[in-house]
Symmetry: C2
Subunit: 217 residues, 2 copies
């Protein structure tokens, strides 16, 4: 739709239409490196900063009183996270491995025009991702959960059908509402079916992405 883009550039574009230029939220601030499993923030902390992943990866998680852990999502290079409505963190965030983050002060947002709309797009993208996650957790079998997880990751990381898992089996299990044993067995099944290849336990290859996608929908 190049015609539409041209038109949009000439007059004020209504909200909720596809952006004609960069979607990028401009974040300004220092960069910091976090070590493996290092906390970026904890539940209950004040919401002072917003983050962009430069390299590495982050798990966003919540805990129940008895220690059960749910990973709400993974943040990968390019992703923005840490936006919240309230004054206190509702969950924690930790580095998966060696991870570099750009850290912007919350108060520094909102200066530029159009920034609110970019914030809105970031949140809406996160919402759609979370709703996909709900569908997976509510109605898919263990194997299907693992399959859709791999496809999701491939879409975000996979240059050409192969990529490196930045997280452990435990992280995957706690993301998918399973146990590490079930994740391992599901990967085994998928591998037996020729839908997945594990070069090492972190190095994934998806030889037949279409067949894998057929499993999930």
């Amino acid at each position: 739709m190049p015609a539409q883009s041209l038109a949009a550039a000439r007059r004020p574009r209504p909200l909720l239409e596809a952006p004609e230029v960069s979607d990028d939220l401009r974040l300004i601030g220092p960069t910091r490196v976090f070590g493996r499993d290092e906390a970026i923030f904890d539940e209950g902390d004040g919401v002072d900063s917003v983050y962009r992943v430069v390299s590495g990866g982050v798990r966003a998680l919540r805990l129940l009183a008895d220690g059960r852990r749910q990973i709400i999502g993974f943040h990968l290079p390019g992703d923005i996270f840490g936006l919240e409505l309230g004054e206190r963190r509702r969950g924690s965030a930790e580095a998966l491995g060696e991870t570099t983050l750009l850290i912007a002060r919350r108060a520094s947002l909102g200066a530029e025009p159009g920034q609110a709309e970019r914030l809105w797009r970031v949140s809406l993208a996160a919402l759609e991702r979370s709703q996909d996650h709900v569908l997976t957790l509510g109605r898919r079998s263990a194997c299907e959960r693992v399959a859709s997880f791999l496809l999701d990751l491939a879409g975000r990381l996979g240059a050409g059908g192969h990529f490196e898992l930045p997280m452990s089996r435990l992280d995957i299990a706690d993301h998918l509402g399973l146990t590490i044993e079930t994740v391992s067995r599901s990967l085994g099944q998928l591998q037996a079916g020729g839908l997945v290849r594990l070069d090492s336990c972190r190095r994934v290859r998806l030889p037949r992405p279409a067949a894998l996608a057929a499993l999930c929908q």
Copy 2:
């Protein structure tokens, strides 16, 4: 924090701070009544409108190829829904019972100043709700799911610890990733424990909300 509110009123308030005035998104458009189970929109439809629930209730749902159904969320009076990033609906929406909606054109948004920020708040609230849902589906038992569902509803509907369920057992089951039988048995258990009272099968009373909440966290 009245002092902060005063300060905020004097100078441009940074984004991501608590709003000092009404959070309300101004939506303009006609009102329409939908009958029970009537479709408001379907997956794949164009995204032309945004909705506010005036009365009644709405289920937002997604289907898998084999018919498995996941209810992503319920929209109750006052809620805004139908905002999407893309051009096509990613799921469908249906009226739970007789339901009145205010329908605004998508293109009519974005006119007023500050509207983008209100949109952002609406989306972020939906995101937080969805993340709570992920925690529930990923890591809670059947009984805990039902308990947190009832608490959530009570917070949105419950004038004083009692309210009317606007949805059927099947809707609840498909929201919580369970079956109707399991929902029924869980309600039975909660009732046996004195944490819930069902005056009729739709009329709920929560005599000990604190004890119920203790179950869930």
